[in-house]
Amino acid sequence: MRSMKSRFALGGALGVLVLSLTGCSQSQIYAIDKSTGTYVAIPNGWNKIEKSELDKAESKSTASDAAEKLANVLWHEAYTTSPGVTATQVLNLEAPVGAAVYVRVRALNFNEINSISYNTLRNLLVPLTSWLDDPANANPKFVLIDDYERVEKVARGVRTIYTFEDAAGVSETVDQTALVSDDRTKIYILVVRATTKYYNKHVDKLLAIGDSFTVRGDK
């Protein structure tokens, strides 16, 4: 009789397991591009900005090489804490409402391949090295929080965390990771931006996004 009970118990346990699986969801959002082997984990509840919007926003850029760069984009995605943040705001340097994450993989052109360096990677958004070399002419709120080398399986570069004041005078903290593939054909970028106030409040969560940035390369 006991064996019959145990049989029913085993069958029941398996049944409960099956049923419990149907009502649960994942703890994070995984931004993944398998073709370039790029992975980022975003906290649950963030809003994704569609690729078409990002493309549209970038195409409006007035930079001379904007069209070429857009054409070389292999993958990009953006997530924000606030649903009201637009693609343009993500791509600009204005401090977003809450926080924004932008991840991008782009092929490098011939000139970039020959000229890219760690400093180039640091100066991706702001002239960071100039500000460091000449503090007198630097952004008034510029503070370098962290700067170190990141080495991934098929790429290497720098992760830099700094604070500066945007055009509107809002203090903004940026956690940028820029890596170049070992064959120097691709650049992998992850930018986590937030107002300094928001950043300091959610520093662990935002640092975790940068930590999760993983590049495995082409499959």
Binding site: G11, G15, L21, Q26, Q28
Partner: protein
């Protein structure tokens, strides 16, 4: 008391309880599949935690959960049916038609239906897996699979080669090892014909019949018979078995395959089997191409030799190991008598003779048996595999007309299964040629050389060589030719042939000179045998007597049967024993009770014959067969346990009875020799004078006549006999004192 049985399914009100395995096996399978998929997700995304992987899989593979859910419902249904009789009853009532429908299908149709369903399920599962791999719909993925297989072929080929390489190595080694030992001859390759085989006409006629059926099988097949497939030629060595096979190859219009005796002896186990299979594949091919084939396996005992080696018995010198050196006692026996003694000796020395010799190797004989008469299975890859794949029944094998001829001089060493009809249909004994056969053989070989022998000479030669085989006759004539050439002649004479025969029978003399007293002792010893053989043994004629020392004897008296005789009688065996024990009786009589060790071989022969007479042939005081008694473990009669009456003597132990018989015959031998002591001394004198004399010379001495070499007439004169007696007395004294005799051996002038 009725026996309580486990209730039948139809008697139960609830469903039979499932085992734990049956209850959970599908759920476990689904769980395993689920976790494999979760693991695959984790491998796909390095950031994915286990819990997220589980949730992701649950989200993406809903079908798996649905299946698991169905299985849970099914198990709940089973559990209710196991616990609740009304629930189970409802199901039986409303769903029994399913079983009835299935029951209407025949077993074969059900099997086919089941097979189709299984294949469909497999294809469906396979396409789902492929779909998951290719990120395509299952149906589309199914069509992409061949392309993937095609692109993967080089790698699959490499893997296959790696796996098969070792097998190929083995196959190649075994293929090379299984070559050789088989020669194929086609018609007219061999010139030997039946007319070249002499003295075995009766066997040749039978073989001719076999070949006739092979050449024209319809002669027997249209009447419902079949061509006999196997012939065994057995008989003593040198009787022409191989020559007969060679002549078959020459006579037949079919291919002839000769299998070397050592072909099946191999270094590695299993090669013999491969060789047999390879041989019969070849035979079948030849049989189909040429309508028939003859295969000859020489020394077939090599295939299934589980017995002991048996030495040849045709030669007087071949039994030396059995009879011992001193007197070559076996020569006083007839050939069957020698055969008995030798066999008995072998039986007691199995270990020393080599014991059970190995055959062709493990499995070789069995493979041969199967090939000779195994399953008549369809053959050929296309026939067996391709036809069957196309739904066609393989064709039955055609009639392979293969005539298997085996030759051996050890038929008793062959496996019983090999000799059964269907494998070996006919067994022919190729025995010693008859006298007519010997004459024909002598004539055949003598025709090839120059000689002066008359038809009477050849007839006499055939008479005095009763067990001469073709090989022996050929050798004897060749030896005679060598002797003639050595004497600056090119033509063979009668003397050459007789000397050649003696040389072959006795071996070359060692040219050892005995000292006088030993020469006389040996001469007396042999003379005792000779006189006794002359007087008592009517079924044998003395061939020659000699005191020339050979390699394994000091002297001998060799006898031959004048007629081809196939039965033996008590009186003949008694005569054999008398001849054997005559040496002991004579030595004791002539040397004042002394005797030499040279009688050992004689006594062994006499004892063996006496044992068989007493224990086997009903020639003694009891009737029961000792062989049968021993086999059935009932014990021999005797042992002095009977009542103390007249029958007691008859029931003595076997050994005692044999001893009594031998003692009686020894007494008789003494009496006979005593009555003929001058004849013994006369024959001893002739032997001392001429060393080797023929049977006719022995008769001449006995009868006081002139022989071919010895003039026996002086031995009928009393004064000469007195001189011989005095010489003998002097030799006896010399023997006792170990010195030279006072008197020289008397010399008689031919009258």
């Amino acid at each position: 008391m009725t026996i309580q049985s486990r209730p039948r399914d139809t008697d139960r009100k609830t469903r039979v309880h499932l085992s734990v395995y049956d209850r959970t096996k599908f759920l476990l399978l689904f769980a395993l599949t689920f976790f494999v998929l979760a693991w695959a997700s984790m491998a796909d995304n390095p950031l994915l935690s286990f819990s997220d992987a589980v949730f992701k899989t649950a989200d993406e593979k809903v079908w798996l959960l649905v299946l698991a859910g169905i299985e849970i419902i099914r198990q709940i249904h089973f559990a209710l049916a196991e616990l609740l009789a009304p629930y189970h009853g409802i199901w039986l009532k409303y769903f029994a038609f399913v079983n009835r429908l299935l029951g209407k299908l025949s077993d074969w149709n059900r099997f086919r239906l089941g097979r189709v369903i299984k294949w469909l399920v497999f294809v469906a599962m396979f396409s789902i897996v492929l779909g998951a791999i290719y990120k395509e719909t299952p149906v589309r993925a199914l069509f992409l699979a061949p392309k993937a297989l095609w692109s993967a072929l080089p790698m699959i080929g490499q893997l296959m080669f790696a796996v098969v390489f070792v097998i190929i190595q083995f196959a190649a080694i075994f293929w090379f090892l299984s070559r050789g030992g088989v020669d194929t001859y086609f018609p007219d390759d061999i010139r030997t014909r039946f007319s070249d085989v002499w003295g075995q006409d009766h066997v040749l006629n039978r073989i001719r019949e076999n070949l006739l059926f092979l050449e024209t099988p319809e002669l027997i097949e249209k009447h419902g018979g079949y061509v006999p497939g196997g012939i065994l030629l057995w008989g003593p060595p040198g009787t022409g078995k191989t020559l007969m096979a060679e002549s078959m190859a020459g006579e037949t219009g079919k291919p002839f395959v000769f299998v070397d005796p050592g072909a099946f002896t191999n270094m590695f186990m299993g090669i013999g089997v491969l060789k047999v299979k390879s041989l019969f594949r070849k035979l079948r091919k030849l049989a189909l191409r040429y309508g028939g084939v003859v295969v000859f396996l020489d020394e077939a005992d090599a295939l299934g030799n589980r017995g002991i080696s048996r030495p040849a018995m045709h030669s007087g010198t071949a039994d030396a190991t059995v009879f011992g050196t001193p007197c070559n006692g076996g020569n006083y026996l007839s050939d069957p008598g020698k055969s008995l003694v030798t066999n008995a000796s072998i039986a007691n020395n199995k270990f020393m003779m080599g014991g059970a010799a190995g055959g062709g190797g493990s499995g070789t004989l069995q493979a041969l048996l199967t090939e000779l008469s195994g399953l008549k299975k369809p053959r050929g890859f296309i026939n067996r595999v391709v036809r069957r794949a196309l739904g066609m029944r393989p064709k039955n094998p055609p009639k392979y007309r293969i005539l298997v001829v085996m030759a051996t001089n050890m038929p008793e060493a062959l496996d019983e299964a090999l000799l059964r009809p269907g494998r070996i249909d006919r067994m022919y004994r190729v025995g010693y040629p008859s006298k007519a056969g010997r004459i024909r053989t002598y004539e055949g070989y003598l025709d090839k050389v120059s000689h002066s022998l008359t038809a009477e000479d050849i007839d006499k030669l055939a008479t005095i060589t009763p067990y001469a085989t073709g090989a022996i006759i050929k050798d004897t004539i060749n030896e005679a030719l060598i002797m003639a050439i050595r004497n600056d002649r090119t033509s063979i004479t009668w003397t050459d042939v007789i000397k050649a025969k003696q040389l072959k029978d006795l071996g070359p003399a060692e040219d050892v000179e005995y000292i006088e007293r030993e020469r006389h002792a040996v001469a007396v010893h042999e003379a005792c045998h000779g006189v006794m053989a002359h007087l008592m043994r009517q079924h044998m004629a003395i061939d020659l007597a000699t005191i020339e020392k050979g390699s394994d004897y000091l002297g001998m008296v060799a006898s031959i049967p004048p007629d081809d005789q196939f039965t033996r009688w008590r009186t003949e065996y008694e005569a054999d024993i008398l001849v054997s024990v005559a040496s002991l009786a004579g030595e004791r009589m002539f040397f004042d009770g002394d005797n030499s060790s040279g009688v050992s071989g004689d006594l062994e022969s006499a004892t063996t014959i006496a044992s068989f007479m007493e224990g086997h042939w009903g020639m003694g005081s009891t009737i029961s067969s000792h062989a049968s008694n021993r086999r059935n473990e009932v014990g021999a009669p005797g042992g002095n346990r009977g009542k103390d009456d007249g029958t007691k003597d008859l029931r003595m132990a076997l050994g005692d009875r044999i001893e009594n018989n031998l003692a009686t015959l020894l007494g008789r031998a003494e009496e006979i020799l005593k009555e003929n002591k001058f004849k013994v001394l006369a024959l001893a004198h002739a032997l001392e004078t001429h060393k080797t004399i023929s049977g006719d010379d022995v008769i001449a001495v006995m009868n006081g006549e002139k022989g071919p070499l010895v003039d026996g007439r002086p031995y009928s004169i009393q004064s000469n006999l007195d001189a011989i007696w005095n010489y003998h007395l002097a030799a006896v004294v010399a023997h006792q004192k170990h010195e030279r005799p006072d008197l020289p051996i008397p010399v008689f002038e031919a009258s």
